[in-house]
C-alpha cells in the first residue's frame, strides 16, 4: 500500500500517522506539502492527518481545504481512490465538500482528550474490513470541535445509505448520550462519501496500534486497508 500523508501548515499528527502506516504496511508514506499540485505516482491511499491546520483559525479545516493539493485529492477521490481524513483531516474533507456536514464545537465547549468506544457499523468497506460489524473498539479522541452536524435530510441519507461507519458508544456497543462526549448527531464518529471511498472520522486510530502504548484497537483499520490493496494487486 502506497500512502501519501498531506502536510498543511499547523498539522501536528502527521508523524503519528506516518509511523503507524510504516508499522502496519511496512512502507514509508510520502509526505506531501500542501502547495503541491500532484500526488506521488502510484498513491493508493491519501491521508489527511490530525492537527490544527492554519491554527484552526476562521473555521477548522477551512483554509487547508482551499490548498492547491486539494484539487489532486478531489481527482483521486473521483477516480475511486481511497482517502482517509482523521480529526482535522475530517474537518478539512467537510470544508472541501468531499464529505457532507460540518464539525461544530463540542457540546460542552471544551477540548477533550480521552479514550472513547466506537461501534463499527459495517465491516464491508475497505476501511473496516479489519473489524467485525458491531465490534466495539477503544480509541482516543483529542479535539475541541468534533460535534458532527448536518441538515436532517443529509443525516437521513447518511443513515439510509449506511454511510455512518463509526458511532460513539458504551463499551458494550450501546449508543447513549453519556458516551457521546461531543454531542454529535446520532453519535456519528465517522462517515463515508457516496462512493464509499472517502472516510472522515474524529477519533485517532493511529494512536492505538501498539500494545506497549496502551492498545491495538486502531490497528484493524490500517491492517484492513493493507489487505484491501493486497487483494486488489
Amino acid at each position: 500500500m502506497n500512502s501519501a500523508v498531506l502536510v498543511f501548515p499547523g498539522i501536528n499528527r502527521e508523524r503519528d500517522m506516518a509511523r503507524t502506516l510504516r508499522l502496519v504496511s511496512g512502507r514509508e508514506a510520502s509526505m506531501v506539502w500542501h502547495t503541491e499540485t500532484q500526488l506521488p505516482q502510484g498513491t493508493d491511499l491519501v491521508v489527511l492527518p490530525g492537527g490544527f491546520s492554519y491554527g484552526d483559525y476562521l473555521r477548522c479545516g477551512a483554509i487547508a481545504a482551499r490548498s492547491p493539493i486539494m484539487d489532486a485529492v478531489r481527482a483521486h477521490a473521483a477516480k475511486g481512490g481511497l482517502v482517509l481524513g482523521v480529526c482535522n483531516g475530517f474537518q478539512i474533507l467537510c470544508e472541501a465538500g468531499l464529505l457532507p456536514g460540518v464539525l461544530m464545537r463540542n457540546q460542552h465547549l471544551r477540548f477533550i482528550c480521552r479514550d472513547v468506544f466506537l461501534r463499527v457499523e459495517r465491516s464491508d468497506t475497505p476501511f473496516t474490513r479489519g473489524y467485525n460489524a458491531g465490534q466495539v473498539i477503544r480509541v482516543p479522541v483529542a479535539h475541541g470541535e468534533g460535534n458532527y452536524i448536518a441538515d436532517g435530510e443529509t443525516v437521513a441519507r447518511l443513515e439510509g445509505e449506511g454511510r455512518v461507519i463509526f458511532r460513539y458508544s458504551s463499551p458494550d456497543g450501546i449508543v447513549d448520550p453519556d458516551w457521546n462526549h461531543n454531542g454529535a448527531i446520532n453519535a456519528i464518529a465517522g462517515i463515508v462519501n457516496e462512493g464509499g471511498n472517502v472516510l472522515g472520522m474524529m477519533p485517532h486510530p493511529e494512536n492505538h496500534v501498539e500494545s506497549v502504548i496502551g492498545s491495538t484497537d486502531g490497528r484493524g483499520l490500517f491492517a484492513g486497508l493493507v489487505q484491501h490493496f493486497e487483494k486488489a494487486a
Binding site: 483559525y57 482528550c113 494512536n207
Partner: protein, 776 residues
C-alpha cells in the same frame, strides 16, 4: 563577592556579577567616567525625571548605578533597556546570591543553569532539554492568553536549543474555591494551556493543581517543557565572529506586553485590574511553524547562535547574544518587521510580542535559511550585526537611540543580599494528641473529594496527552512517562511541592519538594536525573519572605545533593502578593528521570486479585501539616514531616530495583493524604478493591492511615513473589510491611466500614466537574 553566581536563569541569564556588592553605598556616587561621551539622541524624548525612573521600577541607588556606569544621563530608550535588564525577573537581583548554593553538576549534565534550558545526557547520543517557567501575573490579568503565552515561551526556550519538544507539564495554584474569581481563573488558565499546547502539538503529560486562599489574588501558572536533541547538535545563545549578520525571525513586532517584564516584578495592589497593560496574545500556529523552520535550518547547519525573544524581547536577546560571545551588537530598528505603525525605538526594544527569535547565521547559509523561513511563511529580516566594540548600539530612523556597554548591562546589574529572618520552628504534634472527629472510613470518603485531593481529570482531559504516540503513562498516576523515539528508553517527569510544608518549615519543605519529585519518578520505575525549579514567593524586600526563600533554597540544595539530583534550569518569581499578603512559599520542582526500558514502567493501578500489598518505609503517624489535620480536624498546624534523605534514597533504590526486576505489579508513592488516600487511588485507578489489615498497635489508627511520613511507597506483588521482595528490602535495610491483599470491589480496612470503590470514585471524580459547572 567576586564571581558570585554562575549564571542561573532564564529569559535573560545573568553572567557574572562582580563589584557591585562590595562597594559601600557612599562610594557609588555619580562621577563622569572615561566612557562619558556625547551621543546624538533624538530631541523629542521624554525628559528623565525621578518619577519616570521610579515608573521603570528602578530605585534611586539603582539609577545612580546607571549614571556611574555610562557617565551621563541615559536616553529614554536606554532607561527602558536598563529597566528591562535590571528588573527582578531578568536580573535575579534578590535571588542570585542564594541560588549559587544549588548543586548544578553531575556527569550526565551537559548544560546547567544559565542557558535557555538545562540539558542532560541520556545516552545513545541523545540529550533531554528542559525547563520550567512562571507566567503568574499575566495569567491573573488575562487567564487564557497569560497561560497560553506561558506555554509558548517555555516551548521556545526548549526548541531554541535545538530540541524537539516531546512533553509539557504544568503546575497550577489557585485561590480558595469559594473566592469569586477562582472558577473563571481555573477555566481560563486550563483552556489557555490546552489551547496552546494542543495546537502546537506536544503532549501535556503531567502537572499539579491545588487551591488555597493565599493564592486568591496571585494564582500560579508554571509551565514546563521537555525536549529531545542530539548531544552533538545543541545550540546556544553566544554569538561568535565579528561582522556577522543578526537575523530576526518569526512573527512581527507589535506593542504587546510592553512593561510585561516589569509587571512580573511588581506587587499587585487594589488597582491592578485597572492598569491592564497591553496583553500578549499567543499564536500557537506561528510557533509551530517557527519550530519546524528553526529545526530545519539548524539541521542544515545555518545557525551560529540563537536566542528566543522572551521577557523584554529584543533587548534581552540581543544583549545576551553579544555579551555571552564577548562581542558588541548594533541593531537597526528600521529593519525590524512591525505589525503596527509608528512604533518608537523604546517600544520595539521592550515589546514582548510572541513567537520571535534572534539568530546569528553563517553568512554563506543566509539565502538557504531565508528560503526555509519563507517556505514556512515567517518573517525574516537582517536587523543588525556583531561588532568588536562590546557596545550595544540601537539605531532608529537615522538616530542612535542607545549606546551602552554590553557586558555591564548584565554583569553590573545590582545584586542584593537582602536581610532575612528565619521562619520560627513549629511544635511537633504528637499523633495521640489529635482526637479523630470521625471514623477512618468517613474521613477517607471526605478527603478524597476535597479540592486538593480530588481527581484533576477535568483539567488534564483538556490537554492532548497522547499526541506523538509515545505516551506510556498518561496523567493521573505518579509521573508522566513517554517513550523516547522507538524505545526502549523512556522518560518520566513530574512537578511537585507541598506549599503548606514550606510555609511551616521552609528548609524541610524545600527538601520535601525535591524528595517528592524523586519519589514520583521512582514510583514509575525511572532513575531521577535532574530537576528544574520554579521558585514562587512573595516580596523579597520583606525579611520573613526572604527567610522563606533562603530556607527553601537551602532545603532544595541539600536534597539535590543527597539524592544526586542536580538543578539544571529554573526560574524565580517574586512579588507574588496582594495588599501585603504573600502566597504560600511555593518552590515548584520539575523532575526528570530515565527508564532504560519503558515497557517495565509500572502504574499506580492495582492489577490482579490476590496480589499482596506492601508498605515500604517507616510510619510514625506524622500528622503535623497533614491534610487530615487541616481538612478533617480543621487545624493548619505543627511542624511538617521531616525528610530523612538517606532513607529516601534507600527506599527509592529498592523500589527502582524491584521494578527493574519486574517484581512489582503496581507502585505508588505516599504524599498528601497518606496511606489511606494512596490505597484508594490505587483501587480507583483500576476499579479493584483491597482487604487491609488493621493498623499496628504502635501508631494510633488515624495517624497510621492519614499521617504523611516521607520516604514511603505502597507496592503490590504477586503472592509468589512476596518472599523475594521482602528479602530484598530487608537486605537493603528498608522497612517493609504487609498491608493486605488486592481483590473485590470494596476497600475494606479491618474493623472499619468497608467502602465500595465506585463510591470513592464518584466522590474523587465528582468535585472538580461539579465545581466548574457552578453546582457546588
Amino acid at each position: 563577592m567576586p564571581g558570585l553566581v554562575p549564571g542561573f536563569a532564564v529569559l535573560a541569564p545573568v553572567w557574572e556579577c562582580r563589584g557591585w556588592l562590595r562597594q559601600p553605598l557612599s562610594r557609588r556616587m555619580y562621577k563622569p567616567g572615561p566612557r562619558a561621551r556625547t551621543v546624538a539622541m533624538i530631541p523629542n524624548e521624554p525628559k528623565i525625571t525621578p518619577e519616570l525612573v521610579a515608573e521603570h521600577g528602578l530605585k534611586p541607588d539603582e539609577y545612580q548605578r546607571i549614571l556611574d556606569l555610562i557617565g551621563r544621563e541615559p536616553s529614554f530608550t536606554e532607561l527602558g533597556i536598563f529597566s528591562a535588564m535590571w528588573n527582578e525577573h531578568c536580573s535575579y537581583k534578590s535571588s542570585r546570591v542564594h541560588l549559587r548554593g544549588l548543586p548544578t553538576r553531575a556527569p550526565w549534565v551537559i548544560q546547567g543553569p544559565g542557558e535557555n534550558a538545562g540539558v542532560i545526557d541520556i545516552g545513545d547520543g541523545l540529550a533531554v532539554v528542559f525547563k520550567m517557567e512562571s507566567h503568574n501575573h499575566p495569567s491573573y490579568i488575562e487567564p487564557y492568553q497569560g497561560a497560553a503565552t506561558g506555554v509558548g515561551g517555555i516551548l521556545r526556550d526548549v526548541f531554541t536549543m535545538g530540541a524537539r519538544p516531546i512533553a509539557c507539564l504544568n503546575f497550577l495554584r489557585f485561590g480558595d474555591p469559594k473566592h469569586p474569581k477562582t472558577r473563571s481563573l481555573v477555566s481560563g488558565v486550563v483552556a489557555g494551556i490546552g489551547g496552546y499546547g494542543n495546537s502546537f502539538g506536544v503532549p501535556t503529560v503531567g502537572g499539579s493543581v491545588g487551591f488555597h486562599t493565599r493564592y486568591d489574588g496571585n494564582n500560579l501558572v508554571n509551565a514546563m517543557a521537555v525536549g529531545l536533541a542530539k548531544t552533538d547538535s545543541i545550540f546556544y545563545a553566544a554569538a561568535s565572529g565579528v561582522g556577522m549578520p543578526i537575523v530576526y525571525l518569526g512573527s512581527k513586532t507589535g506593542r504587546d506586553g510592553i512593561h510585561g517584564a516589569s509587571m512580573a516584578s511588581a506587587e499587585f495592589g487594589e488597582d491592578s485590574e485597572e492598569k491592564r497593560p497591553t496583553v500578549q496574545v499567543g499564536d500557537p500556529f506561528s510557533e509551530k511553524l517557527l519550530l519546524e523552520a528553526c529545526l530545519e535550518i539548524m539541521q542544515k547547519g545555518c545557525v551560529i547562535a540563537i536566542q528566543d525573544m522572551g521577557a523584554a524581547g529584543l533587548t534581552c536577546s540581543a544583549v545576551e547574544m553579544g555579551a555571552k560571545g564577548d562581542l558588541g551588537v548594533t541593531l537597526d530598528l528600521d529593519a525590524v518587521p512591525t505589525r503596527e505603525t509608528g512604533m518608537s525605538a523604546y517600544e520595539m526594544m521592550l515589546s514582548e510580542s510572541q513567537e520571535r527569535m534572534l539568530m546569528v547565521l553563517k553568512p554563506e547559509k543566509e539565502k538557504e535559511a531565508e528560503a526555509i523561513f519563507r517556505k514556512w511563511g515567517l518573517d525574516f529580516a537582517i536587523v543588525g550585526e556583531t561588532t568588536p566594540s562590546k557596545r550595544f548600539i540601537v539605531k532608529h530612523g537615522g538616530d542612535i537611540m542607545a549606546d551602552l556597554p554590553i557586558k555591564e548591562l548584565g554583569d553590573e546589574a545590582p545584586v542584593y543580599n537582602r536581610p532575612f529572618v528565619e521562619t520560627p520552628k513549629l511544635p511537633v504534634i504528637a499523633p495521640d494528641s489529635v482526637k479523630p472527629p470521625m471514623s477512618i472510613a468517613d474521613a477517607l470518603e471526605k478527603l478524597i473529594g476535597t479540592p486538593d485531593l480530588c481527581s484533576k481529570r477535568w483539567v488534564w482531559e483538556q490537554y492532548d496527552h497522547i499526541i506523538l504516540g509515545n505516551t506510556v503513562q498518561r496523567p493521573g498516576g505518579d509521573a508522566g512517562v513517554v517513550r523516547i523515539e522507538e524505545g526502549p528508553k523512556g522518560l518520566a517527569m513530574t512537578t511537585d511541592v507541598t506549599p503548606r510544608y514550606c510555609e511551616a518549615d521552609p528548609f524541610e519543605g524545600g527538601k520535601q519538594a525535591v524528595a517528592e519529585a524523586y519519589r514520583n519518578l521512582t514510583a514509575v520505575g525511572a532513575t531521577p536525573l535532574a530537576i528544574t525549579d520554579n521558585l514562587n514567593f512573595g516580596n523579597p524586600e520583606r525579611p520573613e519572605i526572604m527567610g522563606q526563600f533562603v530556607g527553601c533554597v537551602r532545603g532544595i540544595s541539600e536534597a539535590c545533593k543527597a539524592l544526586d539530583f542536580p538543578v539544571v534550569s529554573g526560574n524565580v518569581s517574586l512579588y507574588n502578593e496582594t495588599n501585603g499578603r504573600a502566597i504560600l512559599p511555593t518552590p515548584a520542582i520539575g523532575g526528570v528521570g530515565l527508564l532504560n526500558d519503558f515497557t517495565k514502567s509500572v502504574s499506580i493501578a492495582f492489577k490482579n486479585e490476590g496480589d499482596v500489598i506492601l508498605l515500604i518505609g517507616e510510619t510514625t503517624g506524622w500528622l503535623g501539616q497533614s491534610l487530615y489535620l487541616r481538612d478533617i480536624c480543621g487545624r493548619e498546624e505543627g511542624a511538617p514531616p521531616p525528610v530523612d534523605l538517606a532513607a529516601e534514597r534507600r527506599s527509592g533504590e529498592v523500589v527502582r530495583d524491584l521494578i527493574g526486576k519486574g517484581l512489582l505489579t503496581a507502585a505508588h508513592d505516599l504524599s498528601d493524604g497518606g496511606l489511606a488516600v494512596a490505597l484508594a487511588e490505587m483501587a480507583m485507578a483500576k476499579g479493584l478493591g483491597a482487604t487491609l489489615d488493621a493498623a499496628p498497635k504502635s501508631v494510633p489508627a488515624h495517624a497510621f492511615w492519614f499521617g504523611e511520613d516521607q520516604a514511603r511507597y505502597v507496592v503490590t506483588v504477586k503472592a509468589a513473589d512476596r518472599d523475594q521482595t521482602v528479602a530484598q528490602a530487608k537486605a537493603a535495610g528498608v522497612p517493609m510491611a504487609k498491608l493486605g491483599t488486592v481483590g473485590g470491589d470494596m476497600l475494606a480496612i479491618a474493623g472499619e466500614r468497608a467502602i465500595k470503590v465506585s463510591v470513592l470514585s464518584n466522590r474523587f471524580e465528582g468535585w472538580l466537574p461539579a465545581y466548574m459547572a457552578g453546582s457546588n
